[in-house]
Symmetry: C2
Subunit: 331 residues, 2 copies
């Protein structure tokens, strides 16, 4: 008999219930038990909050754990499901992709029941959790090789109504940046699956680099703000300042806004996130490392923009992205 | 005929010369050519500056590249050899250890001519570079999973005269922290090899986490300060402030100052580097991730101390270090 993914408890049971989402074993590894909590307080919005999709983005799991501490008291209505770690194998290895099959969980949705472990996780989430909710907050970060401000993000959605609802939800986080991010690498994303089913999906990119106690406070406030906007929690919105920069900017990033490395070498950042730059301003320096007689190459801003994310010192290949620039949403 | 490590130019040639340190090929990989520069301006101190020992600590290579830009003008006497990247294989992979043989370059000194690639790099450096100098600055950082201030460090040295000289040299960096770091994991370190030959060896731990443009300025000033103290460069010492914290603290860290995780799970930092803490203060929280019904564990400071380094959010095993606390040198 083939095992199927299942929950160890009824997600619809009233009150606070903890248990596991069981992802069946396969040829590549044993079954995984992902800890999960459901909080049901009658009618109202139904939200899924996930973290730990990528194993080197730990802000999400930590914020999810913090929510579990105070939500049972604070929630006034509706249903909230929290799964702090989608991919425990990647989290334990501190890797973006799953070590066993090398797959990026956020590129294999809706997954496959008979696939490798990453596909089986996606399948379990798609089949058992997604149908239970109307709204998803997926807590990511830009990973350790980038610096970025706390952002709530969405890719453009074809359906205009859903797009408007999604942007409004993203703005409700009141994070330093709300970003509409054009990308051509969205196949297999959790976002796309949820949006194709008409659900509101907001991805929070909770900064990059070091997970600091200061930044975590901003992230936690952001998720709380969004839950307040949904009417699930009572309270006052909190807008926390990030590195003395202006807050609540709404930006968009086009495909062409990814600034690419002109050569292979070590990228040195020479500006900071949320800097306002104009054409010709220095963004960073690329140091070819194969010969010291080859000069370093200055990388300049092609146009007036806001530095949305920047590589935090990394050996990159030619054409690899070293910065993401952005512009005001209505520019 | 067995190849031997060699230089493509004469390290003693007057003026500025660039070339390569060639590490011979072996069964595991082809020969490596490590870019190197020598700057000779007559009699005076002889210094070797190295970076890129660990491939995910890129502050060193960037600072080394910056030095090469202004040192030819600024140097007034003596000899300086700069090797920005000791381990290009690890740097390209952004890994601490060399991907091919899994070895930590800073634990295999003096290396072996007939060993694996990491051992052959150590052998080439030990035989061809170390004999040419009296002083070594090895530019590391605490790696992306730690947060720490810029520090010049040394392990305790048995020879009292050499210890005094080493601490004096480390202080001359005028970085926010000068640290004497007791460790029982020093076998095969470059430090030990150099110190056993009576040389002054200072390791600079240039921060952790994100490589920011702000932090790089502090690191570059630190190395320049040390070169001024040696008399190789004329100029005024620059003490740059790090995150509004007091500068130029001299601390020591005992073996027992490594704070260990009480369980397996995700560590959440709850204090910041250079915070002054007293017994019972909250350092961080350990979140077991296998079950949400297991409570999170608060980790407290065992004694009055200064937070010298803290894990920046990481899934850790039981007994893995989550923070390094320190105390004033003369306490």
């Amino acid at each position: 008999m083939t095992e199927t993914p299942h929950l160890t408890f009824d997600l619809k049971a009233p009150g606070v219930c903890t248990g596991h989402l069981v992802v069946p074993k396969g040829a590549d590894c044993e079954a995984l038990s992902l800890p999960i909590v459901s909080l049901n307080k009658g009618k109202g919005p139904r939200v899924l909050i996930t973290g730990g999709c990528h194993g080197n983005e730990l802000e999400g799991p930590i914020v999810a754990r913090r929510l579990i501490e105070w939500l049972p008291e604070a929630q006034t209505c509706g249903s909230i499901i929290i799964l702090p770690v989608l991919n425990p194998l990647a989290v334990e290895a501190w890797t973006r992709n799953t070590p066993i099959d090398g797959l990026n969980l956020n590129r294999v949705y809706p997954g496959r029941a008979d696939g490798s472990i990453t596909e089986r996780i996606a399948d379990a989430v798609s089949r058992l959790l997604l149908p239970m909710v109307d709204t998803v907050f997926d807590l990511h970060s830009m990973s350790p090789t980038w610096d970025s401000p706390p952002m709530s993000t969405t890719h453009p959605v074809a359906d205009a109504d859903l797009m408007a609802k999604t942007v409004k939800m993203a703005e409700a986080f009141k994070l330093p940046v709300t970003l509409v991010w054009e990308s051509n690498d969205t196949f297999g994303m959790f976002d796309i699956l949820a949006q194709n089913q008409g659900k509101v999906f907001v991805c929070a990119e909770l900064g990059g680099g070091t997970v600091s106690s200061e930044a975590l406070s901003i992230y936690e406030a952001g998720v709380r703000n969004a839950l307040i906007a949904l009417g699930l929690v009572e309270g006052k919105t909190l807008c926390l300042t990030f590195r003395q920069k202006p807050t609540s900017q709404i930006l968009k990033m086009l495909l062409s806004d990814g600034l690419k490395s002109p050569a292979r070498g070590i990228f040195e950042p020479r500006c900071s996130v949320l800097d306002e730059v104009k054409e010709g301003d220095l963004i960073g320096i690329l140091h070819p490392m194969d010969s010291l007689s080859r000069g370093s190459i200055h990388i300049h801003a092609p146009t007036t923009s806001t530095v949305c994310a920047i590589r935090s010192g990394l050996h990159v290949d030619v054409d690899e992205e070293v910065a993401f620039l952005a512009r005001p949403m209505n520019a």
